[in-house]
């Protein structure tokens, strides 16, 4: 079920009414669990057992880890839980990718093996679900969180529908603990939920979904114009941000309606003045996951420059592969890994001191980020090579003026708002008098509703 669907707009009020009809925590958790499974099954009910299965494996593994004192057994249990998640990912997400890659290598070596490929449907949000499970099991192993014994509570945590298919990848220390404590729904929750829902839907429907068809028509292997490559990449960078941040804001807003606090997954990433800062602001739940469960276990920055750089490249390459089964995602990850390694070397790990250095840092960061978005969007070699070939022609066609106007029209208000949100606080609009804020909210809702009639209503990150 998509957030931008009539079904979702029915599910939320229905769940809200049932949920608040009782104040018994156990019943509320059960209602959340049921709503979450309806949410997931709406897309394809056949994958519901997979979600339940992954959750049960995590649940059992954590309890066994907590119950065992022997370190070797605990390690073995973590290994089994993580390996199970990886096998699920490997089968559903990467099987054909590895088979195709192996076949391509064999072909170049003069061999022609007849390798099987599978017609596999990628389960919605599989990467988010598995990563959240791994984090929980490892946290229990590390003693950072106790193993949850209440099955309903745990399943509800794993399947909590606002964040189920595209994150944030919530840690047990934040979300699971909220299933144990009484939750209140106050005026403050409603205020914040209102703003986050309006803001999130506007980002998604007005900005991302209006840019999506433009980007789709320009990212083609037969693209003849270099300017189209540049402008389509810019447009995609804004689209993916508005799409994913919009989703995250909606998720946070919906969670508030049930008294839950989700983490901020984005903190104005396009205002970053270094690549390091960008990764502290972009998809925060993934970047911290990669840091805590991959980069640091690999040794982090504790074993000298060479090993640190290797760890950075490996972490970011795997982070790229997490997004999708394509070598262009790996390239995207390697680009960011390289940029992070260079930032460490040349900046000494500190933020730019002067305004000029800040501006230069911002320009350089955006260059890396948007070149990265080009690799990210060009999801196969044909598209990548075709688009690169277009860079030899710099003709200015009528389409380019139109794309510039579209980008400016959508980005300028967004930048202005983000600038204000950063300087005055995330909810500064809620402090405005009613005669100012409500007309603004109504205008945003009207524009969003108008834009929703003709737009593509899927979320980019649902595929990951």
């Amino acid at each position: 079920m998509s957030f931008v669907s009539v079904a979702f707009l029915c599910l939320v009020p229905a769940t809200f009414l049932l949920y608040h009809a009782t104040s018994r925590l156990a019943v509320q958790n059960l209602i959340i669990l049921a709503a979450s499974y309806v949410f997931y099954a709406w897309w394809d009910w056949r994958f519901l057992p997979l979600l339940v299965g992954i959750s049960i494996v995590n649940y059992v593994a954590a309890i066994l880890i907590a119950a065992t004192a022997r370190q070797q057994v605990r390690k073995l249990l973590v290994f089994v839980a993580v390996a199970t998640a990886m096998v699920v990912l490997a089968i559903f997400k990467y099987f054909n990718f590895f088979v195709d890659s192996f076949a391509a290598i064999a072909h170049h070596a003069g061999l022609n093996p007849n390798l099987p490929t599978l017609r596999i449907v990628l389960p919605l949000g599989i990467s988010f679900i598995t990563f959240q499970g791994i984090a929980y099991v490892v946290d229990v192993y590390r003693g950072k969180h106790v193993a949850e014994k209440n099955l309903v509570k745990f399943l509800a945590f794993k399947a909590f529908f606002p964040q189920l298919v595209a994150g944030p990848i919530e840690r047990a220390s934040n979300l699971l603990d909220q299933f144990s404590a009484p939750r209140r729904f106050t005026s403050d929750h409603a205020d914040r939920a209102l703003w986050l829902l309006i803001y999130g839907y506007a980002m998604k429907v007005v900005v991302a979904d209006n840019l999506a068809p433009i980007v789709d028509t320009l990212f083609i292997p037969e693209q003849p114009f270099g300017w189209s490559v540049v402008l389509a990449t810019l447009a995609f960078g804004i689209q993916i941000y508005a799409d994913f941040n919009g989703y995250s804001l909606i998720a946070k807003g919906v969670a508030l309606l049930f008294g839950f606090e989700l983490i901020w997954n984005f903190r104005y990433p396009y205002w970053s003045v270094s690549i390091n800062e960008f990764w502290r602001r972009w998809h925060i739940s993934l970047s911290t996951w990669l840091r805590d469960y991959l980069y640091i276990p690999l040794g982090g920055n504790r074993r000298g420059e060479l090993i640190t750089n290797r760890n950075l490249l490996l972490t970011m390459a795997l982070g790229g592969l997490w997004h999708g089964a394509s070598w262009t995602f790996v390239l995207w990850g390697l680009l960011h890994g390289t940029a992070l390694a260079m930032w460490r070397k040349f900046s000494g790990g500190t933020a730019p001191g002067s305004k000029t250095a800040g501006a230069a840092g911002w320009a350089l960061t955006m260059l890396v980020v948007f070149v990265g978005w080009f690799l990210f969007r060009a999801a196969n070699w044909d598209l990548l090579i075709g688009m690169l070939r277009a860079l030899k022609s710099w003709e200015w066609a009528p389409v380019h003026g139109a794309v510039v106007l579209a980008i400016l029209s959508l980005t300028c208000p967004m930048m202005l708002l983000e600038w204000q949100l950063q300087s005055r606080g995330d909810y500064f609009l809620l402090r405005w008098p009613a005669w100012m804020k409500y007309p603004l909210f109504a205008a945003l809702v009207a524009v969003t509703a108008a834009a929703s009639g003709h737009v593509n209503a899927t979320f980019i990150y649902f595929q990951f």
Partner: protein, 356 residues
């Protein structure tokens, strides 16, 4: 009070509290949004909406607007999309400096009858050109009765009709149309790659004096010289035997009759005829049948002298076509227009140095 206890019980129910909070916080936004949409709907209902939003409609509507707004031209073109995409007016303006040349070519669906309707409007507004070139591609010869809705569209001025959308759809549509001015909705296929949206397509038609580019081929070739360099070695393809020959049907001849009536209001000696070339692959039956003979027959049906049928190429290489058997691409249209300019000069339709 018998109701006191149930009311107290309901008031203390957690759901009542939650619903109350949501109503207080979300209610004003819902009410104001309804107000915004009501106002937008009211404005929308005061205006009219366009007949359709297809690319064909944009072409026809814009050419009609141009014919209504531009001053009378020295030479005007009326015809189908082979003319719109194949005759490059800026090239003619370079060939005949000082001349006022405009193309009001539209699409084949409009047909001879529709061109006549456009001419009638120009005459009625006193904006008829001094000289007129009628342009047909052989693909038009087999006219379909259903295309006559386009003729009615022009004749009845039925370009815009009252909205049939009600609240809130009318309000949403009004806001959406406002947004479309800033953020375009891509046109289909290659048109999105070259033009982007409707506004850019329309402004190109205005900028190029009624010409447009079929963007389905040769966008990657940056100049005419670069294109000419690719022509060496290309030969005419033999006609594909599976393709039907171009034969005029009764519906087309009837439409020509209607155009002929309209030409009686115009000086026929100043009307010229061009049959645009077809891709050699489609040239079933040979150019004699669909070009020379057909041209003379059309001239006769229109009541114009056969000498007013201008001598232009009948077939062109496959590499010169963007799409279909009739649309030249952006570079070949210049080559073709240069040949047309020669024909116009040879016949004395326009002078090479001064305005006519």
């Amino acid at each position: 009070m018998p109701l006191k206890r149930p009311i107290q019980s309901i008031a203390s129910w957690p759901l009542t509290d939650a619903v109350g909070i949501v109503a207080r916080k979300f209610g004003p936004v819902v009410a104001l949004t309804s107000l915004v949409l009501s106002v937008a709907n009211y404005i929308y209902q005061q205006g009219m909406y366009q007949w359709s939003r297809g690319i064909e409609t944009y072409i026809v509507l814009e050419q009609i607007r141009r014919s209504e707004r531009l001053p009378a031209a020295d030479l005007a073109f009326l015809g189908d999309s082979s003319c719109l995409m194949g005759i490059h007016v800026p090239t003619l303006l370079r060939a005949f400096p000082g001349s006022g040349i405009e193309s009001f070519c539209t699409i084949g669906f409009v047909g001879p009858d529709g061109y006549g309707a456009m001419l009638e409007k120009m005459i009625a507004r006193g904006r008829q050109p001094s000289k007129l070139v009628l342009v047909f591609n052989p693909i038009q010869y087999e006219r379909d009765l259903r295309w006559n809705e386009w003729v009615n569209f022009i004749r009845t001025n039925h370009f815009e009709v009252p909205s049939n959308l009600t609240f809130p759809a009318g309000g949403l549509e009004y806001i959406r149309l406002l947004m479309e001015r800033a953020v375009y909705n891509p046109l289909p296929g290659g048109y999105a790659v070259y033009y982007g949206g409707k506004d850019q397509f329309i402004s190109t038609i205005w900028r190029e004096h009624g010409s447009a580019i079929d963007p389905n081929r040769m966008l990657d070739i940056p100049s005419l010289e670069a294109y000419k360099a690719t022509l060496a070695g290309h030969v005419f393809f033999k006609p594909d035997p599976k393709i039907k020959p171009f034969v005029m049907n009764a519906e087309f001849e009837k439409a020509l009759g209607s155009l002929s009536e309209m030409l009686s209001k115009f000086d026929r000696s100043k009307v010229y005829l061009v049959i645009t070339p077809v891709n050699s692959l489609y040239a079933q039956g040979g150019p004699q049948s669909f070009h020379a003979e057909a041209g003379e027959r059309i001239a006769a049906l229109l009541g114009i002298d056969r000498s007013q049928f201008l001598d232009t190429p009948d077939m062109m290489l496959d590499i010169m076509y963007a799409h279909y058997p009739s649309h030249l691409h952006r570079w070949s249209r210049i080559i073709y227009t240069e040949q047309l300019a020669k024909a116009l000069a040879d016949r004395g339709v326009l002078g090479r140095t001064t305005g006519n």
